[in-house]
Structure formats: C-alpha cells, structure tokens
C-alpha cells in the first residue's frame, strides 16, 4: 500500500496535466462542430475532393461527418493518440524508474517481493489511467450534449469514447513490458513517442485492410462500425486483451528474475 500511494503521488501532477489536455482537446474539437454542421454541404464537397485513400487513412467518413458522433469519431483519433502517449509514457516511466533514477538499491532491498513492487506500481499507473478516462468521459459527454442538435446516440458516443481506455490499456501494458525488457531506456518520452507514432502510422497504412487492423491497437475499434451497430468487434477486443495479459505476464516474470547492477 505504501508503494502504491507513493507512486500515485509521484504521478499526480502528470496525470492531472494529461487529463486536462485530453479534455481541452475534446472541447476544442467539439466547439468547432456547430459552425461546421451549419455549412455541412460545402464541407462535404470539400472533403470529397480528397482522394479516397487519403480519406480512409485519415478516418474521414463523408456520409457521417455531419453528425455529432461522426465528427467526434474523426477528431477522436487524435485524442486517442494523446491518450496512447500518456499510457505508454506512464508504462515505460513507472517500471524503469528504479533503473533510471538509480533507486533500485533503495527499493529492492526493502522487505517486499519484486512482484509486490511491480504490482503496486502497475496498480498506481492503472489508477492514473482510469482517473484520466473517467474525467475525460464525463467531460466529453457534457460537451457533446451541449453541441448536439437533433439525433444523437449516447451509446455510440460512449463506445467511441471508451476506446480511449482500450487503447490506453494496451499501450500501457506494452510500455511496461518494453521498460522491463530494456531497462536502460534513458529518454522515456522519445521511446514512447516513437512507439506510439509507429503504431499510429501503421494503423493508417495497414488499417486499410481488414486483417491489417490487428497490427495497430488504434484500429481495434472501428468507429464507423460502432456508429452503425452500437457495439465493439469482439475479435479485436479479445486480441487486445490477450496482448495486455501477455505483456503483464512477461513483465512480471522478467522483473522478478533480473539482475540489478551497480550504476
């Protein structure tokens, strides 16, 4: 418990900043919706001018962009990107901290098992991610209700917004595993940005094919599908879940066994 609270305190500021950033981003995007909705026909025409490949890669759906959810799902790509960066950074940072800040001699000679150490850290980080997601979700619903005029499916909106949590969890698990396998990571943010942008671009390119979507967690939730069916695609959720579980298992095994060398 003491380690959990300690880590939670250490990442308090960071989490608040990310939460504010994500919420602010949603506010910014959604505040642009009413003017766009007013002149939606002109806007659609302009979008149709883009080649189809570009539209698909950017996640632009001309038919639905005039609806709140359609527009939201397009802008949500970038919010998810930010959430992924937060989660990956947190994952790498929290479990490589002892090596980076050379505090392993302090923490790992205390009367606690390494499993306990890692579990406390992961729980603290998960709490941070959950906090961000809950606050974001609440704020996003309020914002959407404020700008929505006419029909608006709250279910679809919630499902789109909750994909932030799914992406965050996968990225967090991958980040944790990365940090445990390569503890000498010096610059957390550059590694994290590199990996997340890698997945993002991979999602744009490989995501054009149905089977290619498995390669990028950004494509596990297809917003067009969610808006139509108001549900997730289970195979992708299962793959995501397996990735998370595997990454955590590997992390715990390696963390327990690895040697901590002098600095």
């Amino acid at each position: 418990m003491n380690m959990y609270l300690f880590e939670l305190r250490a990442y308090r500021k960071n989490t608040l900043m990310w939460t504010l950033a994500l919420t602010g981003l949603a506010l910014l995007f959604m505040s642009m919706f009413p003017p766009i909705a007013k002149e939606i026909d002109e806007f659609k025409k302009a979008l149709e001018g883009f080649p189809e490949g570009v539209r698909k890669a950017l996640g632009l759906q001309v038919e639905t962009i005039g609806s709140v959810n359609g527009y939201y799902s397009y802008t949500f790509m970038y919010i998810a990107l930010c959430g992924a960066i937060q989660a990956m950074t947190l994952g790498i940072s929290i479990s490589s901290k002892e090596v980076r800040e050379k505090t392993a001699d302090f923490l790992l000679t205390k009367p606690v098992t390494r499993t306990n150490v890692l579990a406390s850290k992961l729980l603290a980080a998960l709490t941070c991610i959950l906090f961000t997601n809950i606050v974001y979700l609440g704020a996003a619903v309020l914002i959407a209700k404020a700008v929505a005029s006419g029909e608006f499916s709250l279910t679809a909106f919630l499902l789109i917004s909750l994909s932030l949590l799914i992406i965050s969890l996968i990225m967090f698990a991958l980040g944790t595993m990365l940090a445990v396998l390569f503890p000498k990571i010096k610059s957390v943010i550059s590694v994290s940005l590199g990996v997340v942008f890698g997945f993002f671009v991979l999602g744009m390119v490989a995501g054009l094919e149905e089977s290619g979507r498995y390669f990028s967690p950004f494509k596990y939730v297809d917003y067009a599908y969610v808006m139509k069916k108001e549900t997730y695609e289970w195979p992708f959720l299962v793959v995501g879940f397996i990735i998370i579980v595997l990454a955590f298992i590997v992390s715990f095994i390696v963390y327990k066994k690895k040697d901590i060398h002098t600095v």
């Binding site: 003491n2 300690f6 250490a10 800040e101 050379k102 505090t103 392993a104 001699d105 302090f106 790992l108 000679t109 205390k110 009367p111 606690v112 098992t113 306990n116 066994k257 040697d259 901590i260 060398h261 002098t262 600095v263």
Partner: protein, 294 residues
C-alpha cells in the same frame, strides 16, 4: 551462530568479471571487513547477498535462510548502505525517510530524529539540494532506521569528511554493541583495520584469505624507504623479513615484516640522509599474498 553463510558462491556475467566460488561465514555480533581493490567482486558479492543479483552457482544464507528464496523476509532485519546513494528527486529528506520506514512495521519517527541529530542532517531540505556527503547521511539513516540485526555497508565512507566518518563509525560500533552484526566492504585498509574483528580479502573474484585483524596486523609489513649518504653493500639489508629489496644508488626501499627493533638497529648503524616508514597500501599486501601462493 553464523549470520551470513556463503558457500561456493559464483556469479558470472558472460565472460567478464564476476565472483568465483566464494565461501566465508560471518558470525553473529562481529564486525566483518571485506576488502579488495576496485572491481574485485566486493559489490557483486554484496548485491548477491541482498538478492539484487542472482547467483549462477553456490548459495548464500542470511540468518540461516536462503538469500534468493527468502529475500523479503531477510530484508526485514537487514540495513544496507550502498557506496553511492541515489534517491527520488523532488522529495524532502523527511518524506523519503518516512517512506523508507514505512516498509518496516515499526514506528521509526523518533529514531529518524535521533539519528539526524547525531549526524547533523537537516530533515526539511530537498534531496536534490543535498551535497554528496549529506546524501550519504540520508543513506546511513535509512540503513539504520529499523534497527537491523545485520548491517551491510558497501564502501560507506566515500563523501564523508573525517569528523563525520568518526561519528559514523561510532554509530556503527554502538549498533554493534546492541547486537548488530556488520559486514563492511572497503578498499581502504586503515578503516577496516580500525573497525573490524575479521576480514576477508578478495581479489579478481576470489577470496584470497579470511583472517583476524589481529593476526593480519602481526603479519603486517612496513614499507621502508631510505636515502643514505654513502654507498652501502647490496647485501646489507638482506636479512629475514625483508622483501622486495631495491637499491638505486643512494635510495633503498624494501618491505619489512618482523621485530621492528631489529631493523631500526640495523638502520641506526649506517649514516642516513632521510628515512620514510609507511604502511604498505593494499596492493602491496595483495602482492604479498600472491607471492605466498606461488
């Protein structure tokens, strides 16, 4: 009773340095020195004892329990001070010490204050603002705060001024009187001689000797350097107890072991310009151990 039992402990890192088949015991209540030059394997041994690294062969037990298997259990009664201390930045000294104490199921706030007063450490400062020596003091307090039964120190005196070293040694001796066993690693022979009952000498990953300090002192060599005014015959100092005799014109140097009176008489008989008698450094003692093996 043995507090530490090390039996055939081996740790190899691929092909590079490590420790090879190390065995020695530390008895309850003693201050045990662990000396050797840099890179000899002192830290590797200590880190294996603390389960920071895992042995590739042999075993080590503390309080009769296996170091790897029962690491958290053992850690309850072990205090460790690393050679270089690093702590989470952005924390106040008091907060860090409280965090450290929170791992042990004891109320330690009184003891934190008491130790901080003895070591003259300001608890309200931020860790990043502390000098090397003051960080070390934080390390000392966090190593002693839970009144451990075994104190493991890895080259602990670096960064402390001589006065503070004395205070620190007094603290250790006090803990020792209360029953704590101390394992003290160092490459500085004099501090080990001052503190310890017994020592293990390690070189290139192997234990060269485990000896009582008192015996080591008897065996101790003195390093003589003389400048003479006139030529003397090469065989003049060729007597038992003299090693490494070197004569360069008027400069003579040798290591001597034995009755100091004898050699002083010998020196008194010749006309000397200058004389130095020094404690040999650790390297020279090691050389001596190797010579004996050959």
């Amino acid at each position: 009773m043995n507090v530490i039992e090390i039996d055939g402990l081996t740790k190899t890192y691929g092909s590079s340095r490590g420790i090879n088949n190390i065995s020695f015991n530390v008895e309850e209540g003693e201050i045990f020195g662990f000396i050797g030059p840099n890179g000899a394997g002192k830290s590797t041994t200590i880190r294996t004892l603390l389960s920071l690294i895992h042995p590739t062969g042999g075993s080590a037990k503390i309080f009769g329990k296996d170091c790897v298997e029962f690491a958290p259990d053992i850690a309850k009664d072990v205090g460790y001070l690393p050679s270089e201390v690093f702590y989470y930045d952005n924390m106040k000294v008091m907060d860090l010490l409280k965090y450290s104490a929170s791992f042990y199921k004891k109320d330690c706030s009184g003891r934190i204050r008491e130790l901080a007063e003895k070591l003259d450490l300001d608890l309200t400062k931020k860790i990043d603002d502390l000098s090397l020596g003051n960080k070390k003091k934080v390390g000392i307090i966090q190593g002693l705060v839970h009144e451990p039964k075994l104190i493991i120190l890895d080259e602990p005196t670096s960064g402390l001024d001589p006065l503070m070293q004395q205070t620190f040694f007094d603290l250790l001796k006090e803990e020792n009187r209360k029953g704590a066993t101390v394992l003290f690693s160092s490459h500085i022979l004099s501090e080990v001689q001052r503190m310890c009952d017994r020592v293990a000498i390690i070189k290139e990953g192997e234990i060269v000797q485990v000896e009582k300090i008192s015996i080591l002192k008897e065996n101790n060599h003195k390093k003589f350097k003389l400048e003479v005014k006139s030529d003397i015959s090469a065989g003049y100092f060729d007597l038992t107890g003299v090693n490494n005799l070197e004569v360069h014109e008027h400069h003579i140097s040798f290591l001597f072991r034995g009755d100091i009176n004898e050699i002083m008489k010998k020196i008194a008989e010749i006309d000397i310009a200058n004389l130095w008698i020094e404690e040999p450094d650790l390297e020279e003692i090691f050389m001596h151990y190797y010579e004996k093996e050959v």
